[in-house]
C-alpha cells in the first residue's frame, strides 16, 4: 500500500483498484507507522469504494481496526447516487458523551469525593443487559423516539435549558417509530438511564488545565472545577436496529448493483425505500441514546443532592454539551467550490463545527461547538472547540477518544483487574466497577496516548484545545 505524506499531520492512500476517492488519515509519522500495520488501512480503502463518496475516505488520529468501517472513520456521500450504511454508524447508534459542570472547586469538597462516587455507582444502573428504574409503555417509547430529550424533560428528567446544549436541540428530526421492530422496542423499554458495559462510563473529573481562557469562559469551565462525564449510547435498542438493517441491506445493496468489498459495509442508496427506512429508524435510536444520557444526568444531579444536601441548581451541574460519535447526518458542506447536501457518516468521530456555524448552539456561536473527547480511565479527557479548518479538511469532524492499541484478550492477559483498581486508587482515582475482568480490558495501556491524539487534531486544525480533565472517580459496568 502506497502512503503519501501531504503534511506532517495528513497522509494519503492514493486511489487504486475500485477506490472512487483517495483515503486520508490524520496522524503524525509515529502514529502512522503503527496504524499502517493494521487492517484499518484496508478498511479506509474499502469505504473509498462505496458509491457516491465525495472527496476522500477519512480517518481521524484515533483510528483503529473495526469491522466494516475503521473506527475513527468519516465518509460523506452525495444525496444523488450516494449510500447510507448501518455498518458506517455501528451497532451502538449515537453512542456519545456529555459533560456536566459544577460550581464546586475540587479542593473544597475533596473529602466528600469517595462518598459521591459511591452514591453515583448506587444510583446509576450499570452492567450488561441491566435495566433501569424506568419501564416505558410502548406509547411512551414512541414519544421518546420522536420527541427526543424534550420528552425526558417533560417527564421530569432534567431542565429545559439542557436542550440548548445538545446536538440538534436534543431531537433528530425524521424519526419514525413504526420502523423500529418489536424486538428493538423490547430491548429498549427498560433501558433509559442505564450505562451498559464495555467502554462506557460515568466519571467524576477535575479540570486540570485550561488552554483557552475565552472558550473556557464561554463553556463555563475553570481550573480545579469538578465535572461529570457520561459515555454511553442507545443500548440494546440501537444494537437491534443495526443488526436488523445490516441484514436487510445486504439484499438492498445487491439489488442496487453495489459490489460490496466487505459484507459489513452493507448499504442502500440514500434515496431508496431501504435508505429512508434506515435513517428513520436510526433517528429513533439517536433520540433514545440522548434520552438515555439525559435520564442519567438526572440521576447524577440527584446523587449530588443526596451527598451535598443542596438543590442541584445551587451546585451547578449544568450541561456543557452532549454529542454523538457514531452517527450519520445530513449536512451541507463545500465540495469542489459548490455547496452540497451530504450524508456524513461518523464512525467513532466527533462533529467539530466552528464559531459562526448555524448548527453550533447559539450560546457557543462566538467560540465554536464544544467537542468532548473521553480518554482512558487513568489518563485524561479533553474539552475542545470546533475549528474552521475542520470544515474544509474533514467535513467538520475530529477524533472521538484515545483509540485502542491493545486487543481485549491481550489486555486481560497482561493486566489484573484487582491490581489495576489498586493502581488507579493509588493515583487518587476511585473505581467502582461491576466486573474487575471487564475493567482490565479498559486499562490505560490498552489505549493510545489521548494527549497525543488531541495534539494532532489541534495541529491539523480539526479541533482546538480548551481544557484538560483528569479522572477522580470512575463508574463502570
Amino acid at each position: 500500500m502506497e502512503l503519501v505524506e501531504l503534511n506532517p499531520y495528513l497522509w494519503e492512500i492514493p486511489r487504486t483498484g475500485n477506490m472512487l476517492v483517495p483515503g486520508r488519515i490524520f496522524a503524525d509519522r509515529q502514529l502512522m507507522e503503527k496504524a499502517r500495520e493494521e487492517k484499518a488501512m484496508d478498511q479506509v480503502m474499502n469505504v473509498a469504494c462505496l458509491p457516491g463518496i465525495v472527496k476522500a475516505s477519512l480517518a481521524m488520529p484515533d483510528i483503529h481496526w473495526g469491522y466494516g468501517f475503521a473506527i475513527g472513520g468519516v465518509a460523506a456521500f452525495r444525496m444523488d447516487g450516494g449510500v447510507i450504511s448501518p455498518g458506517g454508524v455501528g451497532y451502538d447508534i449515537a453512542c456519545g458523551v456529555r459533560l456536566l459542570k459544577t460550581n464546586l472547586p475540587v479542593p473544597e469538597i475533596k473529602d466528600q469525593l469517595p462518598a459521591l462516587v459511591h452514591e453515583l455507582s448506587r444510583m446509576i444502573p450499570a452492567g450488561v443487559g441491566r435495566g433501569g428504574n424506568i419501564r416505558l409503555k410502548q406509547k411512551e417509547l414512541d414519544d421518546l423516539m420522536t420527541g427526543g430529550v424534550s420528552w425526558a424533560i417533560k417527564r421530569g428528567f432534567g431542565r429545559s435549558e439542557d436542550l440548548e446544549s445538545i446536538e440538534d436541540g436534543g431531537c433528530l428530526e425524521g424519526a419514525n417509530p413504526d420502523l423500529v421492530s418489536a424486538r428493538a422496542r423490547q430491548r429498549g423499554l427498560d433501558q433509559p438511564g442505564t450505562l451498559g458495559a464495555g467502554n462506557h462510563f460515568a466519571e467524576v473529573q477535575i479540570v486540570e488545565e485550561v488552554f483557552d481562557n475565552e472558550a473556557a469562559d464561554a463553556f463555563g469551565v475553570f481550573k480545579d472545577q469538578l465535572c461529570v462525564m457520561i459515555h454511553t449510547g442507545s443500548r440494546g435498542l440501537g444494537h437491534q436496529i443495526c443488526t436488523e438493517f445490516v441484514k436487510t441491506m445486504g439484499g438492498a445493496a445487491a439489488r442496487a448493483g453495489i459490489d460490496l468489498p466487505d459484507r459489513q459495509l452493507a448499504c442502500a442508496p440514500i434515496e431508496s425505500p431501504e435508505g429512508h427506512n434506515y435513517y428513520a429508524a436510526m433517528a429513533c435510536a439517536v433520540n433514545f441514546a440522548r434520552c438515555n444520557r439525559q435520564v442519567m444526568t438526572h440521576l447524577v444531579r440527584e446523587s449530588f443532592q443526596n451527598i451535598f444536601k443542596s438543590p442541584s441548581e445551587r451546585l451547578g451541574l449544568d450541561l456543557i454539551y452532549d454529542l454523538s460519535h457514531n452517527v450519520a447526518k445530513f449536512e451541507e458542506h463545500e465540495v469542489g467550490g459548490e455547496r452540497m447536501k451530504l450524508c456524513v457518516h461518523r464512525k467513532g468521530a466527533t462533529r467539530s463545527f466552528p464559531a459562526g456555524h448555524p448548527d453550533t448552539p447559539v450560546r457557543y456561536r462566538s467560540v465554536g461547538q464544544p467537542v468532548i473527547v473521553p480518554g482512558d480511565m487513568g489518563t485524561a479527557s479533553y474539552l475542545l472547540k470546533g475549528a474552521p479548518a475542520a470544515m474544509t479538511a474533514s467535513f467538520g469532524s475530529t477524533c472521538h477518544g484515545a483509540g485502542r492499541v491493545m486487543g481485549r484478550r491481550a489486555a486481560k492477559r497482561m493486566i489484573d483487574g484487582h491490581e489495576l483498581k489498586q493502581r488507579l486508587e493509588a493515583q487518587g482515582i476511585t473505581v467502582r466497577a461491576g466486573s474487575t475482568r471487564a475493567l482490565a480490558e479498559e486499562a490505560p495501556e490498552a489505549y493510545k496516548d489521548v494527549n497525543k491524539v488531541v495534539d494532532i487534531c489541534h495541529h491539523a486544525g480539526l479541533s482546538l484545545r480548551v481544557a484538560k480533565l483528569r479522572p477522580l472517580g470512575v463508574i463502570k459496568g
Partner: protein, 140 residues
C-alpha cells in the same frame, strides 16, 4: 479436537470454531461466544429456548450471523446465560435449534465481556480437509 479458539482484534474480539460437521461448527461457535461472555462451568441449563432463523441469501455465512445474533437477543431479552446448543436443522436458508441456559440472577458468575452483535466482517464458514471451520468477529 478443540471446539473453538479466540481471534485477536484491537477493539473487538472474534472466535474460530471447529466441528466434524457443519452443524457442530455452528454449535461450537455459539458455545465459544458464550464462553467469551461468562465462565460457563458454573452456569445451569434448566431452561430451554427454541431458536429459528432465516436468511435472505443462500449462503451459510448469513445463517451463522443470524443464529448468533438470535442467541444474543435471547440472552439479553430474557436475562439468561446460555451454555448448551443443539441444531436440529441446518437448511439452505433456515436454521432450527435449541439453546439451554439459566437466568443470570441464578448464575454465580461475572459477565466478562459485553457482546453487542455478531458482524459480517471477515465471516467464514468453510470445510477444510476433515473438519468445518466458522469464524466471526463480534462488536464489543
Amino acid at each position: 479436537m478443540k471446539s473453538f479458539e479466540t481471534i485477536e482484534h484491537t477493539a473487538d474480539i472474534g472466535i474460530r470454531a471447529f466441528g466434524s460437521t457443519e452443524v457442530e461448527a455452528f454449535e461450537n461457535a455459539a458455545y465459544g461466544m458464550f464462553c467469551l461472555i461468562a465462565d460457563l462451568e458454573k452456569v445451569g441449563a434448566r431452561l430451554e429456548f427454541p431458536v429459528e432463523v432465516e436468511a435472505e441469501e443462500e449462503e451459510h455465512e448469513t445463517l451463522l450471523v443470524e443464529w448468533l445474533n438470535e442467541l444474543l437477543y435471547t440472552y439479553e431479552s430474557n436475562g439468561v446465560i446460555l451454555k448448551r446448543f443443539h441444531i436440529d436443522e441446518l437448511g439452505v436458508t433456515r436454521l432450527k435449534g435449541v439453546a439451554y441456559g439459566a437466568p443470570i440472577s441464578e448464575s454465580p458468575v461475572e459477565i466478562k465481556t459485553d457482546i453487542k452483535a455478531a458482524t459480517y466482517y471477515q465471516l467464514r464458514v468453510e470445510q477444510s480437509e476433515d473438519r468445518w471451520v466458522t469464524e466471526v468477529i463480534f462488536d464489543v
